[in-house]
């Protein structure tokens, strides 16, 4: 067995757990907190609630919300300036993947200097980051437990993956109550993102006995609860999704992902599409491409979703791709790549970008850009 590593932050999980935010911040030595969130969360009232919690604890709060979905390097740089200008000391990220990744980018720049692009790739951060507390409001990104941050470089039209153990926050506070205000589309997109994290990290070449159970648990919980959570906002289902998302995050943070996420990042960089909407389109084709390298594992995924089966391993593996396709279609998710990408001729360029994405590295089956183009064509 290869030597492996498993690292996660302190996780505080449970309904209402957000009330521990101020005491967590104080324990990390906070006096002036830098809060990163976005306008969507302001309208739900969560930002105000967080600021009130901090105020009650006599903590100063510098609020930064100049963010879009798929946060941009320029936005991160502005945030870092604001942080330094106010001499803040602890960073709190509140939201889905975008504010949390932006918070990670800001933390990196304030302590290491330079530009976000200086840290693209693995292990390029050389100075400690300010203490970070993340509060995810979607059950999907897993960014609140992972060592990944994805920041868009608008100039090059790519999503940069920054990978560093220093990006793992000090504390992640996961309160499923925060999920109820999300739209159906956002719950679906996040859930599918989490499912993709679980599946890709499960079959990853870096998967370990510590990540695999987390991944399978996530797959099972998402398959069972996604529909109820999205269509009915069932609180119990949402809680199970939050567990699943965190488990998937623990898995992919340590085991890595695959070409599915590499392609989704490339598409997101080019067209600013919602990350969670690109993944369901690509996932069945990606799995089918990987069957030759990890037939047994894909069959295990199949049994996790569909239950015990008398079919052969080959048949099970083949079936699960269709099962996923049908599940996504039933949930009304657009399932053709042509719905997202205006022009089929762009695909070649997208695949050439994706093959260089760090996420593609642990993919179980060796792939070149032509292989990726094949996957895209299949999903077109």
């Amino acid at each position: 067995m290869q030597i492996t590593k498993f690292a996660i932050p302190e996780v505080i999980f449970g309904n209402g757990s957000i009330k521990f935010l101020a005491s967590c911040a104080l324990r990390l030595g906070a006096k002036r907190v830098f809060l990163v969130s976005d306008k969507g969360l302001e309208s739900c009232g969560w930002v105000k609630q967080v600021i009130d919690l901090l105020k009650d604890a006599k903590l100063e709060c510098i609020y930064f919300n100049d963010l879009t979905a798929n946060p941009r390097d320029t936005q991160v740089h502005r945030g870092a300036e604001l942080y330094l200008e106010h001499n803040a000391d602890v960073i709190i990220g509140l939201g889905g993947g975008s504010p949390i990744d932006a918070a990670k980018g800001i933390a990196t720049i304030v302590s290491n200097g330079g530009k976000v692009s200086d840290y693209e790739g693995a292990n390029r951060i050389s100075h400690p980051l300010p203490p970070m507390i993340f509060i995810p409001t979607t059950a999907g990104s897993g960014s609140d437990v992972s060592q990944y941050a994805i920041i868009s470089d608008k100039e090059r039209e790519v999503k940069m993956a920054i990978i560093s153990r220093s990006l793992v926050p000090n504390i992640s506070i996961i309160d499923p109550d925060l999920l109820v205000t999300k739209s159906r589309k956002l719950i679906l997109a996040s859930g599918v993102d989490a499912l993709a994290h679980a599946i890709e990290s499960y079959i990853s070449r870096l998967a370990s006995p510590f990540t695999e159970p987390q991944a399978l648990n996530a797959i099972k919980l998402i398959a069972e609860n996604l529909e109820a959570a999205a269509n009915r906002k069932d609180p119990e289902a949402l809680t199970q999704l939050a567990i699943a998302s965190t488990a998937a995050g623990m898995s992919f943070s340590n085991a890595g992902l695959g070409v599915g996420h590499a392609l989704a990042h490339a598409l997101g960089g080019r067209y600013d599409v919602m990350h969670g909407m690109a993944l369901p389109i690509l996932l069945p084709s990606v799995m089918r491409f990987n069957i030759p390298s990890c037939k047994g594992k894909i069959a295990t995924i199949a049994r996790t979703i569909n239950g015990a089966s008398l079919c052969s391993i080959d048949e099970q593996a083949e079936q699960v791709c269709d099962t996923l396709q049908k599940m996504f279609e039933d949930l009304g998710i657009p399932m053709r790549l042509r719905d997202l990408v205006p022009n089929e001729t762009d695909l070649e360029e997208i695949c050439k970008v994706a093959i260089n994405d760090a996420c593609a590295v642990p993919n179980p089956r060796e792939a070149n850009w032509q292989d990726l183009l094949g996957i895209c064509k299949e999903a077109w």
Partner: protein, 394 residues
Amino acid sequence: MSTNTSLTDLMGIEHNKLNFFQELQKNIEELTTINLQSEDQRREIAAILDGVTDVMMVLSEKLEIISVNHVFEELFPGVNPIGKTCYSLFRNVERACPECPAFRALSTNSVCKETAIFRIDGRNLQFDMVASPLKNPDLTENRILIFKRDVTLEKEYQAKFYQAEKMATIGVLAAGVAHEINNPMAAVAGFAEGIQRRLARLDESVPEDLADDLHDYTDTILKECLRCQEIVKTLLSFSRPIAADFLPVDINQVAKDTLRLLDHQLKKNNSIKLTTELITPIQHVHGDEAQLKQVILNLMTNAVDAVGDSGEIKVQTFIEGDNVGLRVFDSGCGIPPENIDLLFEPFFTTKSVGHGIGIGLSTCYNIVSDHNGEIVVDSNPGKGSCFTVLLPIK
């Protein structure tokens, strides 16, 4: 770039979540090094300061002592000076001394010097003081650095040297004068004797009363010539180098010789009445005639100064037990009781500037001590003083 990312990179087994512990460690290491350096510097500076042999004090604007060096502790053993005022320790007074160089140093922002005499532990010590302003923008209040160098010994030596030099000059002068005076005196005396010899032959041819007159005149000429020669001799003996051997000395003779030198000064002032009571016979003492003359001269000079325009001075010799004594009384102004203890301290003087530096009585004291004798003073302010010198009979 991401193209180089490997599986090992993604696992990042050799990469931790960086925390501030490493940075702290680095900072502590740097601080430790810097601390060692500054400690070395501190020790070096402390060693330099310890090498300073002057009293060194840092004072506040109110002259409160902020820090002192080890020389201070030697001068004031067992005293904690921090927070006390400079003047309360050195002068035992309530307010700052008007001549203090610290104020000038601060107001002129320059290094100021001053000389002062402080009475410390029963001794008069003379100090050269140097005050430097310590103006520092980081300090809320200005400070003053003061060095005090004990120059008592140097000043004593200097005074003695002046005295010796003065005496040596007188010696040279006296030798010259003696030569120049003795020759004509010898001629005058010789011719006077010649006249006397020839007078015998004239006795029959001149009237008797005229012959008596001539005898009388020539006798007077001879007597006065002798007196001149005596004075010159006294002058010579008086100005002999100080380090002479001790010889048997007749204190009466010493007193007479010294008084003869003052004859002129006393005669000039008729209202001073000088009486002498010299006891005879008197034993010889073992001593240096010139030095003992100086003692009497100093005592007489003080007495003349004390009586001023009119009064009495009495010089007395006596025998008391195993000692020969000499007393000089005066009916002058007397000495205030608070000054009695200070009389024999070098540089103590009540005379105005230019009339004495306060070395006379201290010289007397040293000379008498060298003769294993003692000198005591008794005084009634307003009525007069009496100095008594006792010298052992050998």
